[in-house]
Amino acid sequence: MNSLPDKRGYFGEFGGRFVPETLAPALEELEKGYRTVGHSKNFVEELGSLLTHYAGRPTPLFFARNLTRHLGGAKIYLKREDLTHTGSHKINNTLGQCLLAKKMGKKRVIAETGAGQHGVATATAAALFGLECAVYMGEEDMRRQNLNVFRMQLLGAEVKPVTTGSKTLKDAINEAMRDWVTNVRNTFYVLGSVVGPHPYPMIVRNFQSVIGKETRSQILKLEGKLPKVLIACVGGGSNSMGLFYPFYKDRSVHFIGVEAGGKGTEPCQHAATLSQGKPGILHGALSYLLQDPDGQIQPTHSISAGLDYPGVGPEHSFYKDTGRAQYVTASDKEALDGFLLLSKMEGINPALEPSHAIAHLKKVAPRLSSRDSLVLCLSGRGDKDVVEIQRILQGSTHA
C-alpha cells in the first residue's frame, strides 16, 4: 500500500478539497474524527464484528471453472461481493461511515445513489444504527432501478428524487452536497465512492480495501502465488480501488479498470472518464472528467446506472498517469453479453456494473498461461437489473 494521499488530500496532482467554505470545517472535523475515533481499537473491533456477523464477510473467492474452460488461459477467480448483505460491496463502506457518524454524534445521514446499491446500503446501516436517512436519486435512475427505491423506503429512508440536469448520479451528488451545505451541523454525508473532497477518497478506499486484503490472503492460500491480473469495473471506482489498493506494492500484479463504453466513443454516448476525459474539478476533487472545452460537465450514458458518472476517484487518475493501472472500456452491448455469459456459465446473475469487467475477460484471460490466475471483483448481484435487462432484450427482439 502507498502512503497517499498527502496532507492536503492529493494523490500526486489529483484530489484536494474544492468545496464551499461552509463545508471546509465539516471536512476537517470528519478527517479528525476518522483519524482518531475511526482508528480506535473499539471502532476497529466493532466494525470488524459487523462485517463478519452482519455483512457476511469474508466473501468467498470462487474459482469459475466453467468460465475458465470456456475462455481458456488463466484461472478466473471471482471475488463474491455480490454475496454480502444487501448484495454489493457498498455495505463495506456504509457500515464504516455510519458507525463513524454515530460515534461522532451525528443524528442524520444523507447519501447519493446511482444504481441504488449505495442508497440501499446506507439505508440499511442507518436502520441498524438508528440514524435518520435521506437518499438523493436521479429521476432517470429511479425509473431504471425501481426495486431499489422501494427497498430503501422499506428500510425507513426517504428517497428524494433529483430532477435537475441529467437526473442521474452526478446530479444526485450535487443535491446531496446542497443538502449537506444546508444541514452540515447535524448531518453526516455518507459518500458512496472514492470520489469527493478529501478525506472521502481515502476513507472510502480504506473501508473498501477489505476486498483486496481478503483476496490477497485467499489467493495465496489457493494458488500459492499472487494473481497476474486484477480486474474490476470503474464508475467512481470504489470496488476497483478496494481490490487494487492492498496489491499496490505487488508490482507483478497488473490492474485493469473497465469503464462504461456505452454506445460509442462520441461525446455524451459513454461514461469512460479515464479513457476519454481530461483533468478537471468536480464534486470537490481534481480528477479526470468528461467535459467540454469550456469546462462544462458533459452528459454521460451507460446501460448501468452505477457507472453513469462523468468523474472518477482521484486515486484512479493517479494510477492512470503513473501507469500503475490500465483503463479500458466495455460497451453496453458487451456488458449485456457479459451478464448473459456469467449467468449461463456459472449460474450467477451479476449486476450490470461488474458485467463490464466480465465482458473484458475474453480479451485478457486467453492471453495468460493456465498456470496463472486472475481475480475479477464481482461487485454486486444482478437482481436489481433483471427488469431493465428484460426490457432491453424484449425490445431488441421486437426491433
Binding site: P20, E21, P279, Q291, D294, I297
Partner: protein
Amino acid sequence: MHNRLEKKLLDLKRSGKKAFSLFLTAGFPSPEATVNLVCQLEKAGVDFFEIGFPFSDPIADGPTIQRSSEAALKAGMNWEKLMEIARAIRQQSDVPLIVMSYSNPLFCKGWENAIRQLSQSGFDGAIIPDLVLEESRPLKSLFQKNNLALVQLLAPTSSLQRMSEIGKESSGFVYCVSVTGVTGARKDLPYPETNDFLKKARSRISLPILLGFGLSRPEQIPLLKGNCDGFILGSALIRVLENVSSRLQAAQKAVQFVHPFVREIGKENRHD
C-alpha cells in the same frame, strides 16, 4: 496598486457609506441584457457587480441560479462571450466587475491563462465559491500579478482561526455567507445569529465585510446594517428577470426592484 474594486471600496469607506453589489448570471436573459443591466443599474446606485459564469454543476447555488445558469448555457453562453460582455461594459463604464465562477471553468482554461484573460477583459476581482483557502493559496501570486482581487468567502461554520486566515488572504473584501446553505432568496434570516457571526468576523478582519445569500427584501437591511460594510443581492433579482420579455423591460424592472434596497442601504442611521 489599487484596482477599480479596491478603489471603490476605499472611497465608500472614506465617505462612511455601505457598499451595494448585485449578482447577475452572464447571458441571462441574454448577453446584451447583461451589459445593459450593468450600465443601467450602476446609474441606479449599485456600486459594483458580480458576473456569474454559468456552470453545469453549481453545487453552492439554489434553484433560482441553477435555472438562470441552465438557461444561459442553453442559449450558448460560453467563455469567449463572457469576455465580450466584460469588454462591452468597459466601453461604457468604469464600474468594478467581479467574475463569479466555479473552479473548473478556470482550471480548464489553465489558471494563469484564465486569470490573465479575465483581467485583460476588464474584470477587477474573482469569487470562486468552491476554492477554499487551502486550494487558493498556491494561486495567490497569479491573481496578484494580474491585479485581479481574489475575494474569499466566510461561512457561519468557519472557525475563529479560519476567520482570521481568510481575512488575511482575501483581497478587496470578504464575502460573508449569511446562513449555512445554498444561494437563494429567503424571506427572513436568523438575524441574531447572522449578526453575531458578522460581529465575530468584523473583530478579526480589517477588510470590508459584505453580506450575501438569502437577501430578498429591503426590510432585511436595517436589521443587519450595523454589523457589515455592505450587501450582495443575487437570486431575488434573478427571479425578477425570469419574467421579463425584453431587454428594455429587464432594465426597467431591475431598476425598480433594486431602488428600495439602494435607498435603505444609503440611509445614514446606523446604530452599531
